[in-house]
């Protein structure tokens, strides 16, 4: 099973939108896909209309006292299952810290369902914590949504250093520009010039569009309710860069 994490230290950069749409597109493409909503805010869970509650509590899953399979919910879409978010995930750092091997718990928890899925997408909470370290050790690819500003590029560098110190070179780190507003000169300049100079930046940029914001209102992936939109086209291109043909 391939594990793809969508992660950034910052919030509000388009992590959930990316995770939801990439998971949906992978499932549509025939990959048996699991989306794990690790964010206590459970936005991905909300979009899929699933109750933001893990049966028995997220704590028991992380501690291995309850099989992860019991908590998985089917979505309305073929090939796509969801491990819901849970407000208790806000304590996940503490849970992980008390475990024997605190930095590899997520990988261990996912092992039993590895043969049921072709792709696991992790929608991560915004933080630099033990959860992040677990995500980096479990994932094969980490997608980092970046708002095209000078500081955001610095974030990618910080993450690269962090990854080098935790997961080594086994992990592929791929940044991409998100919420791009082409009316802004700074956005235009960065998006047009920077990807050519860095191998860890995807060529695809996700525009800032109201149709993407509508996902929360419609509670569906944009790729589902607007399959021909520019946003969907861009997510498809990003999917190809992230894990090949969806």
């Amino acid at each position: 099973v391939e594990i793809l994490a969508v992660y950034n230290i910052k919030g509000g950069v388009g992590k959930t939108s990316t995770a939801v749409n990439l998971a949906y597109l992978a499932a549509q493409g025939g990959k048996r896909t699991l989306l794990w909503d690790l964010d206590p805010q459970a936005a991905a869970t909300y979009i899929f209309r699933v109750k933001p509650r893990v049966k028995g509590g997220g704590e028991r899953i992380v501690r291995g006292r309850r099989p992860i399979e019991d908590a998985i919910k089917g979505t309305d879409y073929e090939n796509l299952d969801l491990l819901p978010g849970d407000f208790n995930y806000r304590h996940m750092d503490l849970l992980l810290d008390s475990a024997k091997k605190p930095t590899t718990q997520l990988r261990r928890v996912l092992e039993p369902v590895g043969n049921q899925f072709d792709l696991v997408v992790l929608d991560c909470p915004p933080s630099m914590s033990l959860v992040s370290e677990n995500v980096l050790r479990a994932a094969h690819t980490v997608l980092v949504p970046l708002i095209p500003t000078t500081l955001s590029v610095r974030t990618l560098d910080q993450l690269s250093d962090f990854v080098a110190g935790t997961a080594g070179d086994k992990l592929r780190l791929l940044g991409f520009f998100s919420m791009v507003d082409m009316r802004k000169k700074l956005h235009r300049d960065i998006v047009e010039n920077l990807p050519a100079t860095r191998a860890d930046l995807a060529k695809t940029a996700i525009p800032s569009m109201s149709i993407i914001e509508q996902m929360a209102a419609r509670r569906e992936p944009v790729a589902h309710f607007a399959p021909r939109s520019l946003a969907t086209q861009r997510y498809k291109q990003l999917a190809v860069e992230a894990f090949g043909e969806p």
Binding site: R49, A71, I72, K73, G74, T75, D76, D81
Partner: protein, 507 residues
Amino acid sequence: LTHQLLLVNPSDADAGSVTDAFAGVFDTQPGTVARSRTTWLETADSRLAKSGIRLREVTIGRRRQLFLTTDTGVVESGPATGLSWPGLPAQLGDGQLGELIGGAAAERAVVPACTVDTTGTTIRLLDRNAKTIGTALIEQRCLTAPYEGTLPVRITLTALRGYHKELRPAVTALLASGARTAQWFEDTMPEFDRGTGWLQPAKARVTLRDSDPAARSVAIVLLALLDEIEQNVAGTRADLDIEFLHDLRIAVRATRSLLKLTGDVLPEGTVENFAPRWRSVGAFTAPTRDLDVLDVAVSGGDPAFGGASAEDFTPFREWLAKRRRAEFRRLSAALGSTEFTDLLGEWRAVLTQAAKTSRKARGMRTDKLVVTRMDKARRRAGKLADGLTESCPIEDVHDLRKRCKELRYLRDAFLTIGAADEHRKTIRELKALQDVLGEIQDDVVLLDALGEYAASTPAPPVATVLALGAVKDRLEQRQRHARAELPAVLTPVTGHRPAQSNDQTAV
């Protein structure tokens, strides 16, 4: 990962009425509509069912798929593209499906037993957040030819992963609307495997009593044989497989034997009227069957035939096939002729009348008929057996074989009369004797055919000539063995020990 329930709604439900059953419990969202056709396949004598196999062909759009299930739960499937039914199992090739079906059906054709057209409507069941928690597949099913009619609607509930519990109210709602569990439906489906078109209904058990008038019992037995004959006519004329003709001929031979041995108890003139007509049926059905037997004998090649391969016999088989085509045309015409149809009709009329004979009517009792005719037949066979020697003409062996067959048909027909254990023993012994006599006879027919082939083919391929030579040697050797086996199987049946001849092993 999904939880399925099968429910059958006994009323004429449709997708709309099933959706109504969920009102107040779930919101529903219409989904897809799909059409499919399922055809159950079987041999005419239910060989698949007897081997615990159920075979279905499912067509969805242009996609045709075969599904095989066994009693032990094994499920096999494979594409059915290019297959046609009725058809022989050989068309399935060497895969797992071909092996299982070929193993059970052997040389019998697999024919459509029953076809069901299904329109499946899937609706989504939604919770209060408009989240899908499961689906209901509503299948409206119609039987098509040869049956016609509407089957109960089948509803399959499938819970999405993690929503089993939430789906339970759907089951309750359906049960409250008059649906019920469908185990009986699954139990009933094998019934469709029998009794249609090419297929024979289960053989009616003939009940005879020792004290019944002989005329009544003989008529009942002959009526059962007539059913058997009629059931095999269509399959024979369509040439679905060689077993239809085989079964038809067995029933005809049994009819002729019983008419000969017991026909005198039927109304006056019956034997004189019908015996020659049934003899004629026996005659026009024989050549095709003989050619079938010959083809089977050489179709697989045989290490016993000097290691000859199947290909070595190809020219001979082509020669056989040509002759068979000509013979089969004659056979088919005869079976479709007015003479044959009249024979069946008149024969049934006479037998039906005789079968109505009152149980209290005067005349010979059934048990007496069986005892006296068995004795007579046994004596006749014994007399022929006395005359057999190792070097006697093959016609003598053939005569004995025919008498033994008559004896066996008589015993088979009146199995319930007298001591059952003794009958079974006799039948076992007769079977052993007939196997030996039959082997001798088949070899002779094959040898004759080989001679004819050699005489009519100016320059057959060398490999074929060598293969046929090996066959000939082998057959002669088998004949000697078969004749040597005769004494052991002859004595228990006829009560006579065969004559000795020049200090050699007698036969």
